[in-house]
């Protein structure tokens, strides 16, 4: 749920990176932190990991200012993927404005992907969100590894869902991370503009929204 406070002209949005354990959610966030150069970027907070695994969550705040002076914040969260942290996942997922589902492309991980996706559906329902209307992007990560499911096969499998086409990524090498994020921003913009009139009320059009929030470090800022 977008957190809008008109008195100080602020709008805070929440994006959650969801997926099975070890699919690369934290890696996605770390890459965004180092690759992105948005108008405003906070510190990446990695909360307590043990053996490389997220115990609580990771969080990266980024932001941009509109012509109207609107202070727009995006907080990017990851959830812990392991089964036993379901209540943490639910807490982080509640009031989310958008979700990036990070799946693991390895053949051996397809069951885990399915389980995690089912868990996402279930938890969305529990926190009162609707998977069919929530802006979401689906990424298949670890494309650099051997023994991954064929892309054509994956695309075909997901062809009849609202999340087609899928995003392919090798987050560890920074590939596909920003692309996924942009697809998400595009879908998110539609919803947020509808509700808060970003374009007409604050002079933030779709292109500005996506470009300003996902500008890569090497790109020249507009």
């Amino acid at each position: 749920m977008a957190d809008h406070s008109p008195e100080d002209n602020r709008l805070a949005l929440k994006v959650v990176f969801y997926g099975p354990a070890l699919s690369g959610k934290t890696t996605n966030l770390m890459q965004l932190h180092s690759l992105l150069n948005p108008q405003r970027k906070g510190e990446l907070m990695v909360l307590e990991t043990r053996d490389d695994r997220t115990l609580f969550f990771d969080m990266l705040p980024i932001g941009l200012k509109g012509d109207s002076g609107l202070d727009l914040r995006l907080k990017l969260y990851t959830v812990p993927g392991q089964v036993q942290h379901d209540s943490t996942r639910k807490a982080v997922l509640s009031r989310a404005d958008a979700v990036v589902f990070v799946a693991d492309s390895q053949t051996s991980q397809q069951d885990n992907n399915a389980t995690a996706f089912g868990n996402l559906e279930e938890n969305l329902e529990k926190v009162g969100l609707d998977i069919d209307t929530l802006p979401m992007a689906v990424q298949f990560n670890k494309r650099d590894l051997p023994g991954v499911v064929d892309e054509a096969e994956l695309q075909q499998r997901w062809a009849n869902t609202p999340w087609s086409p899928l995003q392919m990524a090798a987050a560890l090498h920074g590939k596909g991370v920003i692309e996924t994020f942009r697809v998400l921003l595009d879908r998110l913009y539609t919803e947020v503009d509808r509700e808060f009139a970003l374009e007409t009320g604050h002079g933030i059009d779709r292109d500005t929204f996506i470009r300003q929030l996902s500008a890569a470090s090497e790109e020249i800022r507009a």
Partner: protein, 381 residues
């Protein structure tokens, strides 16, 4: 309530005490004392955390010094905030899990209570069912016994018919012989007295055989051994033999008034109809027995009339009546308000089934302590 993810304020991150200490330590490092606060002084530098200005740092000897101090504070703030976030999240999820557990616990408790109640009820239900089964068993036994007694009676009646036949014709011939003897023996007072007595004996015996013959005929009609299926029945005849049989059973304690009307014959099952009439008459007789003493003499009325499209049979008594609370249950199989052995409890159910099989209807009007009227309606075709 605040969420774990709400942006922390300066007060969230540091207590007043800690803030004071931080100010002292920073001042010791700087050339001029610095101070952190939530109000913006003229030369203040913003303390940023997570894109959020959480406070302002003022004082110091130069802008450079203020910026350096603010950077240091922001760096420290990061770790404090991390801890806060983790702690808040932990608190939130623990609370949510606890609430969930409590809900589950409650649900569990409720279902346990339900099962306990169910198991208590189960014992009652089992007891109840056992009683019903026992009753049904006794009733079945009783009705089987009655049925076989009925069959036996019918069989005996059939067998008795022949000897009764020749006994009565022999008695008639014997009566003629007595009259012949009057011509042959000397006419003395002693002989006359003897022959008169003899004639009376034969007359009484003939009466006896006639009564036996009539009982046998009623029994035969009642059990209708000869007619297995639907035939044209004379309802008056069936009712009458049931009345006679009942009279035989109860002797002259009950007055039964028969008021047969002119009836067309109807298609029916004679033995089942007889059984029904008998059951209803038997109920009436029982009701008379249970009548309060000192009331008028018990009477049963058995009346038949013809209606526009059928015939009506009324069996009415001035007995104890049926209590209001059980009136609705009188047709339930095995329901009986009488002590076991006195009745099968099947009487009214059988009656109802039979009347329904004849596409007729049965109606009961009763007032406790005053009497009961059962009205049967049977269609003609």
């Amino acid at each position: 309530m605040r969420n774990f993810e709400d942006d922390p304020t300066l007060e969230d991150l540091l207590t007043a005490d800690q803030l004071q200490r931080l100010n002292r330590m920073l001042s010791a490092l700087c050339r001029e004392p610095v101070e952190i606060g939530s109000a913006r002084e003229t030369d203040a530098v913003a303390l940023e955390f997570n894109l959020e200005t959480v406070g302002w740092l003022s004082g110091g000897s130069s802008e450079q010094e203020r910026v350096a101090a603010a950077d240091l504070v922001a760096f420290l703030m990061m770790f404090i905030a991390k801890y806060r976030l983790a702690a808040n999240l932990h608190h939130d999820t623990t609370e949510a899990s606890y609430a969930e557990l409590q809900k589950q616990n409650e649900a569990l408790r409720a279902s346990e209570a339900r099962y306990r109640a169910l198991s208590d009820q189960l014992q009652d239900k089992v007891d109840e069912q056992v009683a019903v089964i026992k009753q049904a068993q006794m009733d079945l036994y009783e009705s089987a016994r009655l049925r076989s007694v009925g069959q036996l009676a019918a069989g005996v009646a059939h067998e008795i018919n022949n000897p009764i036949g020749f006994i009565s014709s022999n008695l008639k011939v014997a009566g003629d012989y007595v009259n012949d003897l009057r011509e042959l023996v000397p006419d003395t007072d002693q002989n006359r007295e003897l022959l008169n007595d003899f004639s009376d004996l034969i007359g009484e015996s003939s009466d006896g055989t006639r009564r036996i013959a009539s009982i046998v005929s009623d029994l035969k009609t009642f059990s209708s051994i000869d007619q297995a299926d639907y035939t044209l029945c004379d309802v008056n005849e069936l009712l009458s033999s049931a009345v006679h049989l009942l009279q035989t059973e109860y002797g002259h304690d009950v007055d039964i008034l028969e008021k047969p009307g002119e009836l067309p014959k109807i298609s029916g099952h004679p033995s089942r109809l007889s059984q029904t009439f008998y059951n209803l008459l038997d109920n009436a007789a029982q009701a008379l027995k249970l009548r309060e003493s000192g009331t008028e003499r018990g009477r049963i009325l058995a009346k038949t009339t013809v209606t526009s499209d059928g015939i009506q049979v009324v069996i009415q008594d001035n007995g104890c009546g049926i209590a209001e609370d059980i009136r609705e249950r009188v047709f339930d199989a095995f329901f009986t308000s009488r002590p076991v052995g006195a009745g099968t409890g099947l009487g009214l159910t059988v009656a109802q089934d039979t009347i329904r099989a004849h596409r007729g209807s049965i109606q009961i009007d009763s007032r406790e302590g005053t009497g009961t009227r059962v009205t049967l309606f049977l269609p003609v075709s």
